[in-house]
């Protein structure tokens, strides 16, 4: 990580060109709250899904965070800090740590991820997680933006979690653990700010289902914003 910071700093010094000072490979910060929403279900969940980065064309530091805060219960979340490096026109590889927090416990994973734009314009991210007990997890996220108009955008999404071993403290069962399908319709008041409504279907599978028998669909409503 120290190396990364050093790289970022050195690059920033080298890239200052005089003849067109503002252009080129600028250091930038971007924060995106893709979802910040209320889920209309029995638990009355507030859910978020955000990412932020600091960096340049090739090298970036990313924070990813998603989680939920049911009414009356403490929040559970998955937060990652990764170093991201562009390796192909549409793809970045990422390496770092993931910190999972559930109601009662927490754990840390090492992560290796690939993130980018698949053919046919699917925003894609696949994360491989490994913990100290050699449990290996896979989390995949896919999202597509279909423009109804220039400002009204429908976003179907797909997320999948799977693990090689049980981890009962985290409520994780081996095999396919969870699939979440969503569809959100947002209206961009500005590019940077949209409000949306949608539906989501969330189902646990296998051992995970036995631990936590989740299989529900519900309405969601929220805002999306970035800087």
């Amino acid at each position: 990580m120290r190396y990364t910071l050093k790289t970022l700093l050195i690059t920033s010094l080298l890239c200052t060109s005089v003849f067109a000072g503002g252009g080129g490979d600028i250091l930038r910060v971007n924060i995106l709250f893709d979802n910040l929403e209320y889920q209309v279900n029995d638990e009355k969940v507030v859910n978020w899904d955000m990412s932020a980065y600091l960096g340049y064309d090739r090298d970036k530091l990313y924070i990813y965070s998603e989680g939920e805060k049911p009414d009356g219960v403490s929040a559970s979340s998955e937060t990652q800090l990764v170093y991201s490096r562009a390796i192909a026109p549409f793809w970045d590889v990422q390496i770092g740590l993931d910190y999972d927090k559930s109601e009662t416990s927490s754990k840390t994973w090492g992560v290796l991820a690939i993130s980018g734009l698949s053919p046919y314009f699917f925003e894609s991210r696949a994360v491989l997680l490994v913990d100290d007990k050699s449990n290996v997890g896979l989390r995949v996220d896919l999202e597509y933006e279909a423009l109804i108009t220039q400002k009204l955008i429908f976003t179907p999404s797909f997320a999948l979690d799977a693990y090689t071993k049980d981890d009962l403290t985290q409520g994780i069962g081996s095999g396919l653990s969870n699939i979440t399908l969503g569809g959100r319709l947002r209206y961009e008041i500005r590019r940077e700010f949209a409000s949306y409504i949608g539906v989501e279907w969330n189902k646990n599978f296998g051992t995970t289902y036995k631990i936590s028998p989740q299989d529900s669909s519900y309405l969601v409503g929220g805002i999306r914003f970035w800087y």
């Binding site: 060109s17 003849f19 252009g23 080129g24 026109p89 793809w91 423009l147």
Partner: protein
């Protein structure tokens, strides 16, 4: 009407009235000057100052950077054969510069910081002095930071020593520009974060359904799949649009309209300069034919047209002869049809011309992707053998043109000097089958029923028969990654590139291959670019050459200027990376 034109109108109502007093919150110590009306200065000694200037183009006050507090800056009139001296004082808080675009001069007078000189530090004056060895229509602009976008630009007219071959009774400079209330650094940051931020003409679900209606599901799906599998958009015409830009003609917005008066029967020369940061314009004057007589300052054989496209930094001189005492609209719509600049050419100041409708938007085609028709067939059929004869025939007209163009290369091979190339994450693709498309007016102007100028129409007024044949050739791929908003040449950004070496005295052929989906106006400083437009005997001298998406184009350079020169794409937000330093050794 498209929705954005309403916006233009609303912006326009609060027109750019010249302010007479400084608002109270800006006291004298901030050094902010009031905007002045653009004037013409002539002679051989000029005093210019780059000032922080209060402007109001859209209804909002902003501090622009403007030469002599004028937006556009003063028009400078020089005489061919004289020596000019220009004292340029930088009243900004940061370093500045002025580059005399298209002017042949010594390397240390070219005004590019870190290449020709150190720039003009804040508060200091730099004296440019050089002999004027050419005539025609040119312009000047800052080569520092994004100052050109915030107002440091103006026009240059150089009167010829000899009698002008084209007679006219009256002349007007028509300087086009794109103005934004947003800071250029904000625009650039947004593009880096989300390259399609300003594009409100993206493909919708409805477009797909109407294509199904038109072509049937299978064909529509196949058409889409070529683009979608490559993650390319056929709607990506301009990076920055009228969502943030107000398009100006001589510093005036479409509501206040630049006014050009004429008397019936007069021949009027319009010196049209694209001093925009990012915007290509398509220009026409409804009900009036334009005779194009010069481009980039150099006379050409006259061509009568209805419309022409002007790339960023290009200039075109046209002569018009209105036969009626009425008003004509000088209509310059942006290439993406998101807005327009407007002037009123009228015999009576009280008469305003009707404003034409913006044209419908066109989409990029497979040709713009650097795939020809038969390539598309190939990708469909997955077999190289089975290119249908019908599809090959379709290619024939352009093939003929292509063959005609590099005529001499057929006769005698020009040795190609290989250059360093890279193919990393920062460039998306290579055009698979780039073609010479000199007779292609480009996206938005194809088959519009009007006579549109193309590069194939351009022929120098003077013969270039005795020009030397090229000694060698280099190939420059214009490359980039639109999704990440990174630009480069041969896959290498300027910051990572070695300088290009030209040999003093050589005749060089340069071929561009545009691997991107954008037009790039390429500008070589210090030397003329002799564009091959189909006839070696009439090569056209230009300083800025537009390279169409997926296309190929060639020109020749007589390397007759010692020193170091800038060489770059003139789109301001591409420039830093799509840039080379040329060293003449």
């Amino acid at each position: 009407m498209v929705p954005l034109s309403r916006r233009t109108f609303v912006k326009g109502i609060v027109a750019s009235a010249m302010l007479t007093t400084l608002p109270s919150h800006l006291n004298a110590s901030t050094k902010i000057t009031l905007r002045k009306k653009t004037q013409e200065l002539s002679g051989s000694e000029f005093h210019l100052s780059i000032n922080k200037t209060l402007v109001n183009v859209t209804g909002n006050e902003r501090v622009a950077t403007a030469v002599n507090s004028m937006l556009a800056g003063p028009t400078l009139r020089w005489r061919e054969g004289e020596r000019v001296t220009l004292h340029v004082t930088n009243n900004l808080d940061v370093s500045s510069s002025i580059h005399w675009h298209g002017i042949i001069l010594p390397t240390d007078m070219d005004g590019v910081p870190s290449i020709s000189f150190d720039g003009i530090p804040a508060g200091e004056t730099f004296i440019y002095t050089f002999d004027v060895v050419q005539s025609g229509t040119y312009w000047y602009h800052s080569h520092s930071g994004f100052q050109e976008q915030t107002g440091v630009y103006g026009s240059i007219i150089i009167d010829a020593k000899e009698k002008d071959p084209y007679e006219y009774d009256r002349e007007y400079v028509i300087a086009l520009s794109d103005y934004s209330d947003e800071k250029p650094s904000t625009i650039y940051r947004k593009l880096k974060i989300s390259a399609d931020y300003y594009n409100f003409n993206q493909r919708t679900v409805g477009d797909f359904f109407s294509e199904i209606g038109e072509y049937g599901f299978l064909e529509a799906f196949k058409k889409r799949s070529i683009w979608n599998s490559m993650r390319m958009s056929d709607r990506d015409i301009s990076d920055v649009t009228a969502y943030t830009y107000t398009f100006l003609m001589n510093g005036q917005n479409p509501a206040s309209r630049f006014e050009a008066l004429f008397k019936k029967g007069e021949k009027i020369r319009l010196r049209i300069i694209n001093s925009s940061a990012m915007t290509f314009f398509d220009i026409r004057i409804p009900n009036l034919k334009m005779t194009v007589v010069a481009t980039d300052g150099n006379n050409i054989q006259p061509v009568e047209v209805d419309e022409f496209r002007i790339g960023v930094a290009e200039t075109y001189d046209v002569i018009v002869e209105p036969e009626n005492e009425t008003a004509y609209a000088i209509f310059a719509q942006s290439i993406d049809r998101s807005g327009y600049a407007l002037g009123n050419l009228t015999s009576d100041a009280s008469v305003l011309a009707d404003i034409p409708q913006l044209d419908l938007r066109q989409q990029l085609t497979m040709t713009d992707m650097g795939m020809s028709m038969d390539m598309k067939e190939m990708s469909k059929m997955d077999s190289t053998k089975e290119i249908s004869s019908m599809e090959s025939k379709k290619e024939m007209p352009s093939m003929k043109k292509m063959d005609k163009n590099p005529k001499m290369s057929m006769k005698k091979k020009i040795p190609i000097t290989p250059l360093e190339e890279a193919n990393g994450f920062d460039n998306t693709m290579r055009a698979m089958n780039p073609q010479y498309r000199l007779d292609d007016p480009g996206v938005g102007l194809r088959d519009n029923g009007r006579r549109v100028l193309t590069y194939a129409d351009l022929r120098s007024l003077v013969s270039t028969k005795n020009e030397r044949k090229p000694d060698r050739e280099i190939i420059l791929h214009l490359t980039g990654n639109m999704d990440r908003y990174i630009w480069s040449i041969n896959g290498i950004k300027y910051s990572d590139a070695k300088p290009l070496e030209f040999k003093y005295g050589e005749r060089l052929r340069i071929t561009y291959i545009n691997d991107t989906m954008m037009n790039h106006p390429m500008h070589l400083h210090g030397m003329w670019s002799d564009l091959e437009t189909g006839d070696d005997n009439f090569l056209v001298k230009k300083h800025t050459i537009v390279v169409q998406p997926g296309a190929k184009i060639s020109f020749r350079v007589t390397v007759d200027a010692k020193g170091s020169w800038a060489y770059h794409c003139h789109l301001l937000y591409h420039m830093t990376d799509m840039f080379r330093k040329v060293v003449v050794v």
